[in-house]
Amino acid sequence: MSDTTLTTAPCPECDAAVRCDEGTLVNEILACPDCGAELEVTSLQPFALALAPEVEEDWGE
């Protein structure tokens, strides 16, 4: 396992540790393993995440 697989950043939504795998790119969208939030990689050094913009779903009236 390379060092990069040990890098994590907290999910901005639920604080889960989200892993940065080898080959991850800035602006890539990751999914939080706990809450499913879509997260945009804003930086690799240090590894940082922000909530990605979402299209709201219509759950009806």
């Binding site: 604080d15 939080c32 809450c35 939030a37 879509e38």
Partner: protein, 342 residues
């Protein structure tokens, strides 16, 4: 191999026990009893077990000694014959309400009659591993759990244990199998079909187990029967002593349930199943728990879901047996459920 028997195996919880024990890697299901169906095949009552088990029901009078005896009788029956049962097996797991409470006065208050064997109450361990795991290890006697109580207790336990639960108002929506295998006027199809029936707005007996597990917090509990066969969905409106952020609640639930093999946190920002859904849990031993914080108050809405016949009855009972016998706690309970399903 552990030799097990199920007393009252013609009922729904008894049938689930027979299903689980028939597939358990460390158990031989030796006997199943039903006075009404003695001599008939097990699959006469539980057709899903055709080809799985070749057992026939025996009369309870013909029950032989075994290692673990599961009692799946109606409330009040196990307590009347507990001396006999305890003489037949080293370990007993009773699924009824007879030994859930540790106080005879509380039993009489909630169940409306004096306990038939009050001297036995203190010998039983409450059979919810998430609450009494260490006491269950090696124990000889374990009680069952109330299905609705288990959904509510697992929803609220992290809040109660961390001291942030001030009071809670909760409702459980439940399937018809909670009413058991014996039909009555209220379960007659023309009467039952399509109903959303408030059958216990107050005073449900499972409240006694909430008080037992959660402690002295103010708990208000209602139950509604809905158009399903299996499943419980608990919606709890918990009012907290302090204003927690969502991340704080995540942390609290994660810490509490991180090592629990059968409790999952389900709270997704996207997707079709964002919160616990009983439909997905049929036949499994999972209890799924999710929550949402009301940003305008100290109300936290906590949802939990389970299969009332599994995590709410037979599944938890087998989990108890595993602990009592020193087995892998998850043995025989690995079914992950179906998707899609009805």
């Amino acid at each position: 191999m552990i030799r097990a028997a199920v007393v009252g195996a013609a009922g729904y919880a008894g049938g689930e026990l027979a299903r689980l024990l028939s597939g358990h890697p460390e158990v031989e299901l030796a006997q199943v009893t039903s006075s009404r169906l003695a001599g008939r095949w097990l699959h006469a009552a539980h057709p899903n077990l055709r080809g799985v088990s070749e057992l026939r029901f025996v009369d309870e009078a013909d029950l032989a000694p075994c290692d673990v005896l599961f009692l799946a009788l109606g409330h009040g029956e196990a307590a009347q014959r507990i001396e006999r049962y305890a003489g037949l097996a080293e370990r007993v797991v009773d699924l009824s309400a007879d030994f859930r409470l540790n106080d005879a006065a509380a039993y009489e208050r909630w169940y409306g009659a004096p306990h038939p064997a009050p001297e036995w109450l203190g010998r039983f361990t409450y059979g919810l591993p998430e609450v009494s795991r260490e006491a269950l290890r090696g124990a000889r006697y374990a009680s069952g759990v109330g299905c609705n109580a288990t959904a509510a207790n697992l929803a609220l336990l992290p809040l109660a244990r961390s001291g942030v639960l001030e009071r809670v108002v909760l409702e459980v929506k439940v399937g018809s199998s909670e009413g058991g295998a014996q039909a009555g006027p209220a379960s007659h199809h023309p009467e039952r079909a399509g109903c959303l029936r408030s059958f216990a707005p107050t005073g449900h007996r499972h409240q006694a187990e909430l008080e037992l597990v959660l402690g002295p917090q103010e708990v208000h509990f209602s139950a509604t029967a809905v158009e399903r066969v299996r499943g419980v969905l608990c919606t709890a409106h918990a009012f907290l002593t302090e204003d927690l952020e969502e991340k704080d609640v995540w942390r609290l639930y994660r810490e509490h349930y991180a090592s629990e093999p059968f409790v999952r946190l389900v709270k997704e920002r996207t997707g079709l199943y964002r919160y616990p859904e009983p439909k997905l849990l049929a036949g499994t031993n999972w209890c799924d728990v999710g929550f949402e914080r009301d940003p305008a108050s100290r109300r936290l809405v906590v949802m939990s879901a389970l299969d009332n016949l599994m995590k709410g009855a037979a599944g938890t009972a087998v989990q108890c047996m595993n602990l009592m016998c020193g087995l892998d706690e998850t043995a025989g309970l690995g079914f992950p459920g179906l998707h899609p399903c009805e």
